[in-house]
Symmetry: C2
Subunit: 408 residues, 2 copies
């Protein structure tokens, strides 16, 4: 364990570390190789639940089902997930398949249907092979165990290269509380293998409404501040389940430990977000862009997203090119209020622009920095007091290869 | 000459074909190789003039100078242009340099200063080497001739591979009127070699205000409907000069031949726009995206731009991948009103989606079509009566190479 702010990182923690959770995965045949493609997180009790969903107009069927489940009591006892097929743009049949997945999982796990949420990721526009899903679900209860967190992580991967998991703990009026998360990402859309998914578990005592507010707030500064290629999947979703088994005093924003809990929650979401960006399709490095001195938080966020989403900025990052002209051009087209005479830019510790004028810097040392696996661009607008940070990755030959070469 | 609509294409026409115009180019030393990097278009008389300028907040110094010139009488007699240095983010010195370019050109050509416009394209953030510019301008008058249109085209190129020029003619109440154009593009920003520039010449009798309205309208459906990488340069500008030497009855939107003139003007702008998109950095093909059945023209345009700007759509185009999932996902995240149940998509003549459901199509023949140099995606939303078309290019290894590898 290593201490960080008001919470402690649990080194080998997974989504099953918070009390009351089990998880697991298996191969049911959606992926061609033997990799896991069906998984579940199950709670011993109906957990308080909250979700955030893609803004894409073509929201996939499983998102509707999960929303409907949470809508009834604000609770979930299981999330079932498949990878390899997104069940998106599949019409009435797709919706009926998603509801059948929910019913089968509820029956296999002995739960009420509306306590089960459904998630899918993968190819768009193909119907789920329900035979494989059904037989997979039947085998699932045996695979869901208190040490199945890693198997679950594997079951949600598509073109991702690494499992993304994190766990923190803190004490709330004497009770030890855990918050853990698992995620998948890669391309925001890879039409064969799609989507960002996040699953957060916690054993804190906290009710649906507070949990939903917390998740929405934290998502704005974490999951919503990453971009791989500017595309938004039809299936993006982050779901949190709180078992309440830590036995702490009920949390709300009036609780003295609320800030500490929120920090831990924010940290879990941020670690998962960065891991998704770093593991973007073809990426060789993580880019972090921070904007300070903006006239509003919305302006700061919009500028961060424009810079981190620029194909030219991303290509320059791949080439370790100290190319501030691309950064300033992206700031200028962000549509936000900017004073064109007062912009400072640092690449790591290298000041390259001060009051919108170029500054001499050591190109050799800057190159060394820019060749690293984590590159930070700092922008100071010197206009106001607001700031934001976001994450992305470089644009590489491998990104083009992955996305050009799949089907042909 | 080949007939098209109400006008005729002049096969070898350039910006000097309309009566009253001369043009030319030379090498003054801004580019490392002997390629031309300084050019001008000059009119025998003060021409009615109009311009449209980048929306990037960091508008470069030469744009301010050109605006100031046109602002005085609505007329220009010469446009001077250099490539290799954008004179952008260069502060007070850059502005003073741009004004000096104007003064030197006016003096060398024997014109009033406010009849000269200035344009620059190239590296951002470096001061113009004024010694080279000054001696180049002194040699310029001898190079400006009635057959220097091609030399001018060469002088405005940076990472472009091909010269972009077009000329049309039509008769307006017995007078033969010409409209011609030259353009450069490539990356919207390449911070070493930047920018889209357009120059349109015509000998029509038409006044500043009508010309400005016409240019603004036509730009919305042509130059503003192309994207190479979603980045907007600090130096983008399109300028039109009308010599009035064709001797036609003064044109305005109440003139019976206005529509024919507008069509010719639109055609010139559209040909240049497509040429810029086709010659985008690293491009192997031109993509044309059209949207029909939208609830408004603004919605149709926004959807076109989202689709044509999607890195995933562009990568799929490079791979000749009939990947409608990426198109529908881009439509869905455009922020525009969409009925998720009524979308039709055609790739060329291949219907792949009907009423938002996948349709079987011949993958072999579709692949053959998608491997061509011009690929058209048609989207029908089946909601309203509005439509729009836009142009872009594929995202290739070469784009990444050009933009990753320049400085390092």
């Amino acid at each position: 364990m290593s201490k960080s702010q008001g919470f402690t990182i649990v080194e080998d923690g997974t989504v099953t570390t918070p009390k009351g959770f089990r998880a697991g995965g298996l191969h049911c045949g959606l992926k061609k190789t033997e990799r896991y493609d069906l998984g579940a997180i199950v709670c011993d009790v109906p957990a308080e639940a909250a979700g955030v969903y893609t803004l894409n107009a073509f929201q996939a069927a499983p998102l509707k089902v999960t929303k409907a489940s949470i809508g009834i009591e604000g609770k979930l006892q299981a999330m079932i997930v498949n990878s390899g097929n997104a069940n998106a743009c599949t019409g009435a049949q797709g919706e009926s398949d998603a509801y059948e997945m929910r019913a089968k999982a509820a029956s296999a796990l002995g739960l009420a249907e509306h306590y089960v949420g459904v998630t899918s990721t993968g190819v768009i526009g193909e119907l789920l092979p329900m035979g494989k899903i059904r037989s997979g679900i039947e085998r699932l209860p045996d695979r869901v165990t208190s040490n199945g967190g890693d198997d679950f992580c594997q079951a949600i991967l598509t073109t991702d290269l690494t499992k993304k998991t994190i766990c923190v703990t803190l004490t709330i009026n004497g009770a030890q509380v855990y918050i853990a998360g698992a995620a998948k990402g890669s391309g925001m859309i890879h039409p064969n293998m799609a989507t960002m998914l996040g699953f957060i578990t916690t054993d804190a005592v906290i009710e649906h409404e507070e949990l939903q507010n917390l998740l929405s707030q934290v998502t704005d500064s974490t999951f919503n501040m990453i971009t791989v290629d500017g595309d938004t999947s039809t299936n993006d979703m982050v779901v949190v389940m709180a078992s309440g088994m830590a036995g702490n005093e009920r949390l709300s924003d009036r609780h003295p430990d609320w800030e500490a809990y929120k920090q831990g929650f924010q940290y879990v979401a941020e670690v998962l977000s960065k891991a998704i960006a770093r593991d973007g399709e073809g990426a060789t490095k993580l880019l972090e862009v921070s904007v300070e001195g903006a006239v509003s938080e919305a302006a700061a966020r919009a500028i961060v997203k424009t810079v981190i989403g620029s194909s030219l900025v991303k290509s320059a990052a791949f080439g370790a090119d100290a190319n501030w002209g691309r950064i300033i051009a992206a700031i200028g087209r962000s549509g936000q209020e900017v004073n064109t005479e007062t912009v400072d830019i640092r690449l790591g510790e290298f000041v390259v622009l001060e009051q919108s004028r170029p500054v001499q810097f050591d190109e050799v040392l800057a190159l060394e920095y820019l060749q690293g696996e984590l590159v930070r661009y700092h922008i100071h607008l010197n206009m106001g007091e607001h700031k934001a940070t976001g994450w992305g990755c470089d644009l590489t030959y491998e990104y083009v290869r992955i996305n050009a070469a799949y089907r042909t």
